[in-house]
């Protein structure tokens, strides 16, 4: 990495134009088409699941959210190159993700009206 950028700097004849035309940057080898294919298949799966009649609405919601999470992870990991990032980027992303989980957990008392929750909050 360091030697590469140093080389790039050495090649630049006019330093002020270094942004415009530069030597190829280090890039990552990802089979983007395979990732795209996976995402398309998962989209078709999540749409077709909704046409299957199940007794429980909750099961449908959980399946849809599970598939969406897998798709989101694939996009972040391969398209957004999270696979190749260092600790710093993970550190930046973990903070809001923890806060998201905290926020959703804070909603549980408002969302749950069923018998499950009445165990904790008896009237």
């Amino acid at each position: 990495m360091d030697s590469n950028s140093a080389a790039a700097h050495g090649h630049g004849h006019e330093p002020e134009e270094a942004h415009g035309v530069s030597v190829p940057m280090p890039h990552h080898h990802v089979n983007y088409l395979a990732v795209f294919g996976t995402l398309v298949v998962l989209t078709i799966v999540t749409v077709s699941v909704t046409f299957i009649h199940t007794e429980s609405e909750l099961v449908k919601i959980l399946i849809a959210l599970l598939i969406a999470s897998i798709k989101a992870t694939a996009v972040a990991y391969y398209f957004m190159h999270l696979k190749f990032e260092g600790k710093l980027i993970y550190l930046i992303m973990i903070v809001p993700l923890c806060l998201c989980i905290l926020l959703i957990c804070a909603l549980i008392p408002d969302v749950m009206h069923g018998p499950l929750f009445n165990i904790f909050f008896r009237q």
């Binding site: 030597v23 940057m25 749409v47 972040a76």
Partner: protein, 324 residues
Amino acid sequence: MSESILDHGYIPEEHAPDPVIGHGDPTPPGKIAIWLFLASEIMFFIAILATYIIFRSGSPKIFAEHALILNKLLAGINTLVLIGSSLTMALAVDAAQKNNRKKLSVFLAITIVCAFGFMLIKYFEYKAKLTHHTIVATEVDATTKKPVVYVYDGHMIEKGDKAYKIEGFRARIDPDKPGELPFNIHWMSEKSVKELAAMQASPAHAAAMVDVPGGGEAKEEAKAEVKSAGHDLTESHGEEWTIDKSKIAQDITYGPWKNIFFASYFTLTGIHGIHVLGGIIALGILLIQSFRGKVFAAQTEYVGLYWHFVDLVWIFLFPLLYLI
């Protein structure tokens, strides 16, 4: 070292030690900045998603009934369009990093076309909602000469000066019964009007209502006719109705003012749409620079990260709003 601190008076960015992690981490400051921006975007979207969760858990019936009118096919196509644009964006970043300007231009152009395609489909979706009316009108029954209140629900076909022509369903509103919720136009969905109309047209209901002279055979025929009409109602897109404008008491479209479901729907998809438009501007700048012969590899990567994030948000919005 031809260029050093002595030349510039400062340490060039790429050689400066990372201030956060320390020496050796090669993450460029621009990338840290865009990831921090995305982190704030996550908090923004989770906040409006949290309001959606609260609203939905509080009014499950309104959400279940009104979500049916959303077009799953168009939204599914839009999902594929956005995933496709994410693919071309990833390939554009790859091309920029390999300093392949021609490929970069092609992939950026395809990404922008996909983005406009997404917005075009979104426009048709919004238009379908904003031309879908729920109308309450008081009309005088031709035979009994008594005023009857009807609720119509359907697509506006012709918006004339004196009368509206809509394609949809019509049901009678009976006076509120004790113990039932009073009629509220904001809660009437296409499904509820359709079901009400089918119930009012059911044979048991019709036998009491239809008074055919001659009785016997003719009455049976009338019953069968009403029954088939009631059956059709559950299958078709409804009938055409002409409503005299002067008789309309209430008129509301399926906009964000309709009810809590459409408020959530338009807020979530609208804010996502604004992000897509912002992405189009950023992609457009990169494309123009590429046409001018410049390849901004790092900047392309940052715009790419933003674009993938917009795709990622839609991946969650699509099932939440349209499918479940």
